[in-house]
């Protein structure tokens, strides 16, 4: 197939639109995060009884909450947990998933059945349930949330890896490598894994988004990031009582949360579009 010559700089207009929208949305959150590492307008957990529930103004562009804490500062510092938890969780899920999925797909047979049985069993716990239980048993802390979510998401990656490996291992270049006498470990890591990246990349990005959904849900239930540290989910839970008198308490964290998730969705969609077009 001569058309397989892929021009690397070419992007379909559809993919470009997704990338642009995604990067803008994600950029807002990431920039807020980076700035928050060095500076926030106020300390995010500094209370000030004299300026509570202020509507957005020059001093407090996002307003203040019921403690008089600056919502902008809190939103900025909340992005830290959201980004950190999603990246760390996905990293764990990715490592566990590939470590289980590639051998399962490559060897097939009983090993595959065993791994997939465990995999499917984990996937049978509806969404957030397993993470909630893990946190319930081991206690609510950022580390536990990360491990729990990593574990919950690992099967998704394992599945992608397994299916991809099963396809790739039938291709001639893998057969060739086997004929040449390349060891299985080397085949899996150097021959198969690089070719899984086009499938893993969108899955990773969407994993970041889904993990954020879960993390914010857990924080909303009070089982994620603990106060007074700010997280989007907890901020929203606290803001629920002021939904009518201080809607900015809901709007800004919700917007940032949705920006982050939507940005990731758009990027993964862009990746999917461009990778599927490029691959064919």
């Amino acid at each position: 197939m001569a058309s397989a010559k892929r021009n690397k700089t070419y992007r379909s207009p559809e993919a470009s639109a997704f990338y642009t929208a995604g990067l803008i949305l994600l950029g807002i959150v990431v920039i807020a995060f980076i700035i928050s590492l060095f500076w926030t307008p106020f300390a995010p957990d500094a209370t000030d009884a004299s300026s509570k529930l202020l509507a957005p103004c020059l001093r407090h562009p996002f307003g203040t909450d019921n403690f008089g804490r600056d919502v902008l500062s809190r939103v900025m510092s909340a992005s830290k947990y959201t980004i950190f938890i999603s990246i760390a969780g996905v990293a764990i899920a990715l490592i566990l998933g590939t470590a289980a999925g590639i051998p399962a797909g490559y060897y097939g047979g009983l090993a595959d059945r065993g791994i997939m049985l465990l995999n499917n069993s984990i996937m049978c716990f509806p969404g957030i349930l397993l993470a909630l239980v893990a946190v319930a048993v081991f206690g609510a802390s950022v580390t536990n949330v990360i491990w729990a979510l990593g574990l919950v998401f690992a099967p998704t990656f394992a599945r992608v890896c397994r299916v991809g490996t099963m396809e790739i291992k039938e291709l001639d270049y893998i057969t060739h490598a086997r004929v040449m006498g390349v060891r299985p470990g080397r085949i899996m890591t150097l021959h198969i894994f690089p070719n899984l990246i086009p499938q893993l990349l969108p899955a990773t990005v969407i994993g970041l988004a889904n993990m954020t959904l879960f993390e914010s849900g857990m924080s909303y239930l009070g089982l994620g990031v603990q106060p007074p540290d700010a997280s989007f989910g907890k901020m929203l839970a606290d803001a629920q009582a002021y939904i009518r008198v201080a809607p900015w308490l809901i709007i800004f964290p919700a917007l940032m949360l949705v920006f982050y998730i939507l940005g990731l969705y758009f990027i993964s969609e862009g990746l999917r579009v461009s990778l599927s077009k490029g691959g064919k």
Binding site: A49, S50, F67, R69, Q226, P227, P228, A241, Y242, V245
Partner: protein, 507 residues
């Protein structure tokens, strides 16, 4: 098969449409609305009037059980199942005249034997109880006698003039031991059912001895996850009465649909410092904490200003027993606080944990505000939220904590408020120990003269303040939202929901 599936989809969709349209048309039945729904934020657990601990349980069973005496909404102690009491001069013998014509929920009559059984049970005098009082305050009771003339005589080990308020403990039928599963008392409402995690339902007691009461047919205590969940239900109309609101939340309610009642609660919100753990065992550190915090700000943030600032262990609501000279002792003074910290060797501050129950937003919020304020003197306070049961277990009973925030409730009696500062008291969860206080608390019940007693109370309060045994914050107002559908609700200065006087509004 695929055709079957397509058809099934169509049928299900159609069915769903019909349901939704039906649901749209359905109107609530207008009749039989002689009921009230009260929102509570704690899971009820114990319905036995003698083993009940949590205030959240007491506010429910207040409607089921009655004692010989009963508080009213003003905080006065009135005769209830007793018509009268005679107290001996040394305050060691109480003789109650039992009211006649009172019936239990099962229709049987109240007689002195029931009273004897109940008080013995509460005081741990029944066979097989091993002398362990279920109601620890009644431990001094040594003998309960039916005088066979409609009177019951209670004898104490030693004189105690402050004990009458504990005879509010519930009276149950003689020999009855199934209070947990099937509560049975003489109160205005009968126990109907308990759905764990959802509700407790009470129904009208037709045979209530106070004629004309109660007005309502049914009262439901509905469990809400927290105040905000309750608020949501309140605004949607599925709850009629919701106590313990904060002012800012109450302000959001539609005033045409809800009356907001506010009252001093006679509660003492305490930033409890465990006197036995480092570095809080150092009085200078405790003082520093007291000087570092700004009570006005906390009241502003948590109650929107609706609270009375406290500097000591008693609410000014107790009138003369409260020592006004202590006002202003611990006004915020950061310099002094820092100096005290330095003196104690903590000029760089320290880390500490505040274990607070997530069931009460006011306490969580207080903790958050405290954490922010304590930063100023270098104390880095981490907040650990636990559920109510865990809090009770680990903090209150287990005393495994560093600091906590909680509101202490009490009957309307100064002795009850201060009893917990005795070093041996079950309620002494801050591990406070001062021999002088122990001595004074021993002396108070023996003192018949009320002025002398007041002076002793002042002395105790003075020592507590001197020792800065903990940081006292406020007496938060009890703010209750009551649907305009109802009237006759009274806010008590203690943790009860008296539903007997509540009735439908006349319009």
């Amino acid at each position: 098969m695929h055709r079957f599936i397509s058809k099934a989809v169509v049928i299900i969709s159609a069915a769903a449409l019909i349901f939704t349209s039906l649901a749209g048309c359905a109107k609530k039945p207008a009749a039989a609305d002689n009921y009230a729904v009260v929102g509570i934020t704690q899971e009820p657990g114990i319905f036995d009037p003698h083993t009940v601990v949590a205030a959240g349980d007491e506010e429910i069973i207040f409607n089921i059980y009655e004692g010989l005496y009963k508080f009213d909404s003003e905080g006065n102690l009135n005769p209830c199942l007793a018509t009268d009491v005679e107290i001996s001069d040394d305050a060691s013998v109480y003789t109650f005249t039992i009211r006649k014509g009172v019936k239990f929920h099962d229709g049987s009559d109240l007689d002195p034997a029931d009273v004897v059984y109940s008080i013995k049970r509460a005081a741990g005098l029944l066979d097989g109880q091993g002398g362990v009082a279920l109601v620890s305050e009644l431990d001094p009771v040594s003998e309960v006698k039916d005088l066979s003339d409609g009177r019951v005589q209670v004898t104490l080990e030693s004189g105690n003039s402050e004990l009458l308020s504990y005879f509010t403990t519930g009276i149950i039928p003689e020999g009855y031991d199934n209070c947990q599963a099937a509560p049975m008392g003489t109160g205005p409402f009968k126990f109907d059912s308990y759905n764990p995690g959802q509700s407790v339902i009470l129904v009208r007691n037709e045979n209530y001895w106070q004629k004309g009461l109660p007005y309502l047919d049914k009262v439901t205590f509905k469990v809400c996850a927290d105040m905000d969940a309750g608020l949501t239900e309140l605004s949607s109309g599925s709850i009629d009465i919701f106590p313990y609101l904060t002012t800012d939340r109450a302000a959001q309610l539609d005033s045409s649909r809800y009356n907001i009642l506010s009252n001093g609660s006679n509660m003492v919100q305490i930033f409890a410092l465990n006197n036995k753990v480092e570095p809080l065992n150092d009085v200078r550190v405790r003082e520093a904490i007291n000087y570092a915090i700004n009570r006005d700000d906390i009241i502003s943030v948590t109650m929107d200003g609706a609270g009375v600032k406290l500097t000591t262990a008693m609410s000014p609501a107790l009138g003369g027993y409260y020592d006004t000279s202590l006002d202003g002792t611990f006004d915020q003074d950061l310099e002094k606080a820092k100096a005290l910290m330095a003196e104690a060797g903590y000029e760089n501050g320290f880390d500490i944990t505040c274990t607070v129950t997530s069931s009460y937003l006011i306490h969580v919020n207080t903790a958050v505000e405290l954490a922010s304020e304590l930063k100023a003197i270098g104390i880095n306070m981490e907040i650990k939220q636990v559920d109510w049961a865990t809090w009770l277990d680990t903090v209150y009973t287990g005393r495994q904590y560093e600091t906590t925030v909680i509101a202490l409730t009490s009957t309307y009696a100064p002795y009850d408020v201060l009893e917990r500062y005795r070093s041996t008291s079950d309620g002494n969860f801050i591990n406070y120990s001062n021999a002088k206080v122990d001595e004074l608390m021993e002396k108070i019940p023996m003192t018949a003269d009320s002025e002398e007693r007041t002076a002793l109370y002042h002395q105790v309060l003075g020592i507590l303040t001197e020792d800065a045994c903990s940081a006292y914050i406020q007496d938060p107002a009890t703010i209750t939202a009551v649907s305009t559908r109802l009237e006759g609700y009274h806010v008590y200065p203690m943790y009860v929901q008296d539903m007997s006087t509540v009735k439908l509004a006349q319009n």
